[in-house]
Symmetry: C2
Subunit: 354 residues, 2 copies
Amino acid sequence: MVDTAVSNSRFLKALRREPVDCTPIWIMRQAGRYLPEYRKTREQAGDFLSLMKNPELACEVTLQPLRRFPLDAAILFSDILTIPDAMGLGLHFVEGEGPQFTSPIKTAADVQSLRLPDPEEKLPYVLDAVKLIKRELANQVPLIGFSGSPWTLACYMVEGGSSKEFALVKGMAYSNPQLMHQLLTLLADSVAQYLKAQIMAGVDTVMIFDTWGGVLTPTRYQNFSLYYMHKIVAALKSDAATRDTPTILFTKNGGQWLSKIAETGCSAVGVDWTTDLHQAKVQVGDRVALQGNLDPCVLYAPPETIRQEVQQVLTAFGDGPGHIFNLGHGIHQHINPDHVAVLVDAVHELSRKA
Amino acid sequence: MVDTAVSNSRFLKALRREPVDCTPIWIMRQAGRYLPEYRKTREQAGDFLSLMKNPELACEVTLQPLRRFPLDAAILFSDILTIPDAMGLGLHFVEGEGPQFTSPIKTAADVQSLRLPDPEEKLPYVLDAVKLIKRELANQVPLIGFSGSPWTLACYMVEGGSSKEFALVKGMAYSNPQLMHQLLTLLADSVAQYLKAQIMAGVDTVMIFDTWGGVLTPTRYQNFSLYYMHKIVAALKSDAATRDTPTILFTKNGGQWLSKIAETGCSAVGVDWTTDLHQAKVQVGDRVALQGNLDPCVLYAPPETIRQEVQQVLTAFGDGPGHIFNLGHGIHQHINPDHVAVLVDAVHELSRKA
């Protein structure tokens, strides 16, 4: 059941590479710590996990940035690591150190003990949040669902948290590739099922965040990361219920592999700020839309600089359909919300067709 | 005064893109914590800084890996941050957190108060170490000198240490580009003078480590990082005393900009593991040699995998002169030294011309 108002939104049109009146924009982590109202709701919840697992509060923070800025899409307030949490690894957050797992994956036995979590049973808070948000949005803008990529989930699951060198997970990939593929296969099946459940609950598009694909060699990226994202895209396309839902793949530091990513049959490719959008377009041709790619640090600059940088990104993309404006990574917590207003207005205004 | 034995070494020949009997190899951070003898000398010195600032001990640890492995070059044991330390910012190391500065650069007044440090006066321990090492090496292998790039020095100087988001230094670059250029100009002059002093003291080639150039946009990389490395290369080439000393530039995560780096007139370009060496060669043509690019995590794998991965790198580079084998980044501290022996032997054996 396609809703016409949402289907005709700027954002979904751009994802389908159809003409739009002006370039749509949303911002990675748009519901986040840079907003005082978010910090208040989070305080009310107690901590990040309690906020994320409470559908009413997750809905509230999802909607907060849309009340301030004329953004073209909402994104489900959640985390990329819900699946390993549902697998029983014990997700928690240590202030200033990012996500950590109580029971990281260390051995073959650890991998073999993992079970694919049924989203309805193990992740109901996500699906409930999606339903609530969709109701509250009332088709004003589309809703984006998401997950971490299998490789990125594996990075956190094996390292037990963030890492600089990824010695454990890459060590496992080089020393015991079979075991790594076993883990990634399970994760790909889990992500596919999880994204399907999000779509059934109402999201209008799904994005896969491959935060750590860029730490691999070109060959390993294809074998350990892209292969499994491709499997997920294929799984969604092979099911009548999810086949028409657009998919966005984003590998941070994947600028050298955009063409390979476009080959998966996804609808759009996320581009961080290290690649010029014109070059990105040359790589992907007319196969996919592109999403990005302003350096998040531009938002520390004064309004006039922000407008100039927006213009540069728009100019680099040039004419033609299929651009969704975004930052090249999540917005930083110390950004002034007034600068976000400048950004959103600049994108709409400077891209509007005369 | 060119020493024939050193000048005819595999390493310097490869830097000049001349034919060699087999591919030369050295390893970033080859004098480091993965070696028990290094850990012993460091303990004797007390800490990293005391070790680095003691020419006899710096000489000792420089030579340690050469006693174990038939490496084709020695690299001065030092740190990329000696210049800001000599400028009075107070370099120190916090266990597990990397380098930090006591007095980071926060304001325009901070930048204006900086003075170019005279290497003879402020960094004599480096030059004394170079002279000692050259004497001890007795021309068996060449010695590599180095510095951090101006942009990378600025990153640490403004952030006060390592960073994930580089909000302060990139914020300054976007908000006050003039101030950033003032800082980078001083740093480029300092690095050029410092590398000249190292060459006068005896190093056979110099390498500039641009560890953080890869966090910039393509345009900002050219303006804030590459421009200043280019200035340094030009400064060395314009001086009769340093004109013939080969230069190596290495921007981590700079795989998309190799052609631009090659345009600086440097002798070789370092390549991390995210770029295939064949693709790198296509980008740089016959202008420069290439140095790299094995993923450091390969050394966690068993010997047979290490040999296979070495073969893949050699195959990717293919025929023709101008390859210096290396890791794509510094060796990790928990690597088994026996695996390094496997690596060095594999490179020599598998590349030897029949």
